[in-house]
Symmetry: C2
Subunit: 200 residues, 2 copies
Amino acid sequence: MVRKGLLIVVSGPSGAGKGTICKRLLENNPQMKISISATTRKPRAGERNAVNYYFISEDKFKRMIYEQKFLEYAIVYDNYYGTPEQYVIDNLQNGNDVLLEIDIVGALQIKKKFKDAVFVFILPPSLEELKNRIVGRGTEKLSDIEKRYDAAISEIKQVMKYDYVIVNDNVSEAVQDIEAIMRAEKRKVLRNYEEILLRF
Amino acid sequence: MVRKGLLIVVSGPSGAGKGTICKRLLENNPQMKISISATTRKPRAGERNAVNYYFISEDKFKRMIYEQKFLEYAIVYDNYYGTPEQYVIDNLQNGNDVLLEIDIVGALQIKKKFKDAVFVFILPPSLEELKNRIVGRGTEKLSDIEKRYDAAISEIKQVMKYDYVIVNDNVSEAVQDIEAIMRAEKRKVLRNYEEILLRF
């Protein structure tokens, strides 16, 4: 009954494990499209251009802002992050589900533009575990780690602005939760009303 | 994270196949509880007391109304139907999910009392198929069949008052849809906010 794709926005504090969950979700659902963000920050070890992010210069990023090519963008820890618009719109119109893994500032901008997107917040199992994960990542300076931890605490308070919340106790369970959320959302009356009127 | 059970209300027009779907759903999920309605109508062939319905006299039904023992009740085709309250409340408080398969009039009464219940509307694959099913049931007089068909058409217009809609093209898919809806609903932020505040 559904012809338009679903935009599913996954976010949550740093260290909640949303990257791992999204990776597994895409592996299990090869028909899903992932929106790749652009950023001006330097790649971390193992990150690749056009896979993890489009790593672009600040000049190029600013030109894209000027040309209104972002669905949302934000400055986080002195770096620019943004979601190129065209890819998302094209896929949704073609009936493909699109996954957006973004920070909370970005997610709330998306919410203003896409009333019918689905917002999922990923929480770490506990605050202790969150701290361990941020430290364990080992790619940050100590001051950055503290910044991230403090930011995470205040970000968790934003959960009320989301539709769904998943505590990442177990990656497989979390992925199955998102799959169930997507299936359920496609059965929402509000997403199917026109189709029902045509059929009955 | 969820401690209170979920009340899932499945309804839709006669002939949409909601009985078959609910039966299969319960077979797949033996931990779910089904609320058995009371009715004053005569059992159809094969129906058993305390399995399909509590078949009770009109006198007893009226006494239960007077004693406020129904969550909802309605008069449909000159028969009384009602949902005994105690069983539903007890199970929800014990953390059990409760399935209620009821007509649309009853469902809308439940909606007033249980703001956080989940309302699923089952549609037949088409109007032609709906007519075939009502006729094919073979337990009704012709005048009842016509009444049911006309009622079904106007009932379908009530779909907007529900949360989810499932077209019963395929029973297994419909059951999986309801399972996904239940899983997704348990991840709703509004159902988990208190728990999140305790943990973070």
